[in-house]
Amino acid sequence: MTIKSKLVIAAIGLSFLSTPVLAENIKVGFNVPLTGFAASDGKSARNGAELAVEQINSAGGINGDKLELVIYDDQASPKEAVPIAQKLIEKDGVIAAVSGSYSGSTRAAAGIFQEAGVPYISAFAIHPEITRAGNFVFRTSFVGEVQGRAGAKLVGETLGLKRAVIITLKNDFGKSLAAGFKEAAAKFGVEVAAEYEYSIKDRQFGPIVSKVKSDKPDVIYASGYFFTAGPLVSQLRAAGITVPVIGQEGYDSQKFIDIAGPASEGTIITTSLDRDSSVAETKDFIAAFEKRSGQKSDMVAASAHTAIKVLAAALKSSGSKDRAALRDAIAATKITASTGEISFNDLGEVQKSVQVQIVKDGNWHHHSVIDDAELLAPPSK
């Protein structure tokens, strides 16, 4: 055998050795309501999360490995979320998971992930108990109370309005918002004249509208999702009530404007996504989301996108497949994402400023920013 042929054989041998055994995908779980009453938010959240994964993979993945979403439909129901969490941990062996769902299911799943030592990030579920499941659970959105306090500041200080009527959606979302608002109202000189409650199934608010009209408030602080807030705001306006309506991130969808139509003009909300942002990450997200899904971006999509980006950043920096190391990396994450500057406190709650948006000419636009670290401090234990 000549030296040349030896070299060829050696080269072939080497090439076998260096060929990677097909890059292993990094699996990340994602529970999201794709059927049932929350399916519309679920679809947006899924689109936001998938966009983030595509962006991460096309930019080289996680240190060369591709990110892969394992998606299950939890119907926003706790009894679906528990077996899904178990399946993600045991069958799919995910390194971490993200919730693109509401509080009920996220809270139920959080305990399972904590017990198994699998990092879990809640993208937009707001119940305070979620992160209290333990140190493996994080949240990239505001807890309800924080956003409620921001609402009180918006009403009393930014808008200078004094007499508020609260219309509360009777679930953990609405109740925690109302609690935060009432807690901070006095501090900003806002008097709560009355509070009414409605159920998530209500779309007709005739009696509440009549009563609010007779209360003659300066401002209405109404919690809800776009599918309840759209009918509510349009019915308030149709009854001749013209005072400002203050909403929250649940309104944050183009669908709210479609439903309420011209009545939506001037509605102001506290949320996480600034449509007129000059931050590159936010502008990129808004453009890419609209191009990919053919619809306008919304809060849930941006929040799911943010949660995946946080996880990807932590995977990159921890560099290992070790879940405890990944947990530490998430806790130490500091990134700029589509919903702003993200960092976490000791409980795993996000620390970021609240974006205030207003409906103008049929679109959400920048109104102001509430950036009061003391007021917005999330619970830390």
């Binding site: 009414y196 009918p231 439903i259």
Partner: protein, 287 residues
């Protein structure tokens, strides 16, 4: 003034309940089936109303087409879901009905998307002053007008036409009616057509008030209409109307004055329990 407005809101809500619950009570009166899937026809009516209004710009046309189409779908539901089960115990048909209803929510979601639909140019959004300080929305006035009109027409038809008489005879005693040459099959078809068409009208009107139709819009009517027909005395048409109005008005005041203790939906069942304790046959049911 506030009490008057609350009363009026109660009547609007009661009219919608009446349109929905009537179809249910018609079916129960005739076949002794609890027709849960009726609420799916209400949703379908709402969707068709919005789609046709957006395509043609005419709410009247949308209402008419929606009622006719949903009426025929109602006949289809009877033909394919209930007729094969008539010889079985009634709970079998109830199970079929519930299954149909659950499936329909997801079918609406797959066909029309999860976000729901709205009128592009919502019709009848303005209001007018009925008397000093009392404003009436056109949409709400239409709800009451349409309900009164349809129920009057229906009442007149059942009393003054051959079809109406044979329908009443069949409800009273199917075997006797058959012996007298009434075509029972046609009566059943008519029954489902009329009940479903009324539900469709309710769907279009609710879509108008909320400017939103969504896959799950039938979920509340599905059980509340059941409560209403039990309240009214199963199968009693007058009882159903009385129960619908009472419930609408109770809910209207209850939302404001009891809202912190009792959910709006809980009120319906609280009222139901209260009535059944003293009148187990319902408000106007026969003993």
């Amino acid at each position: 003034m506030l009490y008057l407005e609350l009363l009026f809101q109660g009547i609007v809500q009661g009219s919608i309940y009446a349109l929905i619950a009537l179809g249910l009570t018609l079916v129960y009166g005739l076949l002794r089936i609890l027709h849960v899937a009726h609420a799916a026809l209400f949703t379908l009516g709402g969707y068709l109303g919005v789609l046709i209004t957006n395509a043609t710009g005419s709410l009247g046309l949308a209402m008419a087409v929606s009622m006719v189409v949903v009426g025929f779908v109602g006949i289809g539901v009877y033909k394919f879901a209930y007729e094969p089960l008539l010889s079985k115990p009634p709970f079998i048909a109830l199970i079929a009905s519930i299954a149909l209803f659950i499936a329909s929510e997801e079918i609406f979601r797959i066909v029309f998307g999860p976000y729901g639909l709205s009128y592009l140019n919502p019709p009848l959004q303005g209001s007018f002053e009925l008397f000093e300080g009392f404003y009436l929305k056109y949409g709400e006035a239409l709800v009451i007008g349409v309900s009164v009109l349809m129920l009057s027409i229906l009442g007149w038809l059942s009393m003054n036409t051959r079809m109406g008489v044979s329908w009443r005879a069949t409800v009273l005693d199917p075997d006797m009616a058959r012996a007298f040459g009434v075509n029972i099959q046609n009566v059943r078809y008519l029954n489902f057509f009329v009940g479903s068409a009324l539900a469709a009208a309710a769907g279009v009107l609710v879509a108008l008030l909320n400017n939103l139709v969504e896959p799950t819009m039938g979920s509340v009517p599905s059980y509340k209409a059941l409560a209403i027909i039990v309240l009214g005395g199963l199968g009693s048409i007058r009882g159903t109307l009385v129960a619908s109005m009472s419930l609408g008005i109770i809910e209207s005041f209850g939302t404001i004055y009891l809202g912190h203790f009792l959910d709006r939906d809980a009120l319906a069942f609280g009222f139901l329990i209260l009535v059944l304790m003293f009148r187990p046959q319902g408000l106007l049911g026969a003993k």
